[in-house]
Symmetry: C2
Subunit: 359 residues, 2 copies
DNA sequence: TTGTATGCGTTATCAT
DNA sequence: ATGATAACGCATACAA
């Protein structure tokens, strides 16, 4: 059996009994091929381990894919807005899809679909790619940009995030400056890098201020409000409950509010609360939430522009960008110990309109 | 100038100096045509008013288009979720785009783009189609479903809405039943049909109860929170300010909250508030907002299923569907002049349509 | 028939 | 030169 130096399109074409262009069409997902023929050729391509000689520049479909891992309310909406903004002028359509949290890992049928349909590029939000998926994408030369990736950003893959560590630090420092020393934190899933970074920022701020962190002050949530509620309850049951809580996501902060409310504690007089994200709804919360703004819309817009550059075959200046986070001071933080009746009974004392009323 | 019985592909082909198949490819958005050629042929097709002889069964692209008129936060997010849900199993991609409010009317370049790219169908949210656009779509046989259309739903075009009139009625009746007689309303843009319907529901409920509506009690907003704030301020400045306000959109209700807050008035002790939509965030508001639930997610899902039916060439049972609205009783409504606070809503009690409002 | 759609090869062209 | 793609037409299949 002769050693083939390298399988070329012509080899495949001869063996499949078709012309060279036909094989090319199969390779490029062109429509001009009968399903039968296509399958036959595809099989041969696999059999011969065919690889393109040159950096493939596939035909544009004019579509990019935006894939969310779970379509969660406000958060996704802001990302979508950013993507829209960035594609407004370019002539590309945005195909939005959501994969269920679990589906993300396994076979990634979603990726197969996208690749079969043909897409110029992929924006993946709050997720990550398996090595297998990466090589699939690399094979067809489909560029990817990750928005707020879960894991350690691979230097190979472009990604956009926020300065989570600095944000966590800023939130905590703000509380320290107000005079708090019993500051608890409710983090997100530890698998999420952004979550870890915020937590580390919290730790660093406390250490730098010479404060120690009791282990029970570091709670683990899942970014959703229920976990904020649950962990706050646990915190309030401690012998020395905190005077301030840093929730690593606004959604969780809403749960914190609720729990404090249930216990008849006022924000910020009894407990100060800081969130993270700056979702629109936190402005309407009572009291308006002090939080760390994460420029989701802009992050998405930047990621999209990066992707469009890659699609156009241009080089990126940097494969990793982190946009800055900012502390937004509203009304949920105040110096500790303004007044502290821990457990008022059902009797209600509505004093100032500024204070939410414990029941 | 000779009268041609009917322009055929062959006519066009001859005139354009290409073969018949090439024209066919242009018609079907196939890729095998040079941009120059394509444009030349397209121009001729328009010039000759070319029409397919046969009921065109275009090749599926596996894509549908979801077009928002302005991408507004939570609202769009819920719609998107519904669409995702409905397409999850079907093998179709959802191309999401947003047109700026003004762009919607004029030439609709966005529609050209979509048609050029090729789409199996169109979901249009909170908007309407010009007659011109309708005929364009009809020409290529692209089905459309409108979600919550702005104007009078054309019987020809499939659309999904909510029972806005009933919702407006229910909200108002609820307030009447609580004992309110000075009930104001803040409506949306009068051009929006859904807005008018809610307002009419409000009027009917009051009339039915034998109450008269002072003209100053009917305010016009734009569905955004700022307008809710502004109109509430105006209402409070009246000689006889209302004891209850029905805001025709949750966003506006948040503005109402804010204005009442600014004036040192409590919800619901001093003024009751009812919203419309039931956005997720209203559960976190303090107090949780009594509102009319509009099943946005389900409306979108239903609309999508209708569209997929049309794409599949099936007939619809009905071209117009209205999903039901439900009053969700939370804690922002109480009898007028009530001294007692509402029952504490512990944890998830917020969702219950129970009765926090004692008589 | 006549009109239209599809699969695939031919030819020219582009990139290395 | 050589591998690969792009544009177009031919032949044919299918529809009314």
């Amino acid at each position: 059996m002769a050693e083939r130096a390298r399988a070329t399109i012509a080899t495949i074409a001869r063996e499949a009994g078709v012309s060279v262009p036909t094989v090319s069409k199969v390779l490029n997902n062109r429509g001009d091929v009968a399903p039968q023929t296509r399958r036959r050729v595809e099989d041969l391509l696999v059999k011969h381990r065919y690889r393109r000689r040159t950096a493939t520049r596939t035909t544009r479909t004019g579509l990019i894919d935006l894939v969310f891992v779970d379509l969660h309310g406000q958060w996704s909406a802001e990302v979508l807005r950013g993507v829209e903004e960035a594609t407004q002028r370019a002539d590309v359509g945005v195909v939005v899809s959501a994969v269920k949290g679990q589906e993300a890992r396994p076979h990634g049928h979603w990726l197969r679909r996208i690749m079969a349909r043909g897409s110029d590029g992929l924006l993946l939000v709050l997720s990550d790619l398996s090595p297998d998926q990466r090589s699939q994408l690399a094979d067809v030369g489909m560029p990817v940009v990750l928005v707020d990736p879960v894991g350690v950003p691979d230097a190979e893959i472009a990604s956009v995030g926020a300065t989570n560590w600095r944000g966590g630090m800023a939130a905590t420092q703000h509380l320290i400056e107000l005079g708090h020393s019993r500051i608890a934190v409710i983090g997100g899933p530890p698998a999420y890098l952004c979550s870890r970074a915020r937590l580390d920022g919290y730790r660093s701020a406390l250490e730098r201020a010479g404060l120690t962190v009791p282990a029970e002050y570091v709670r683990q949530g899942d970014f959703l409000s229920a976990s904020g509620h649950r962990e706050t309850m646990a915190l309030l049951d401690l012998d020395e409950p905190p005077t301030a809580i840093f929730a690593c996501a606004d959604q969780m902060a809403m749960g914190v509010y609720e729990a404090l409310f249930d216990r008849g504690l006022r924000v910020p007089q009894d407990v100060s609360v800081v969130g993270f994200d700056d979702l629109a709804q936190t402005r309407w919360a009572v009291p308006p939430l002090t939080t760390v703004r994460q420029p989701l819309t802009e992050m998405a817009a930047v990621a999209t522009r990066m992707l469009l550059q890659l699609v156009a075959g241009e080089e990126l200046d940097s494969t990793r960008l982190e946009l800055t986070t900012d502390l937004v001071r509203r009304s949920s933080t105040a110096p500790p110990g303004a007044a502290a009746p821990p457990e008022p009974a059902a009797g209600e004392a509505a004093e100032e309109p500024g204070a939410p009323v414990g029941a």
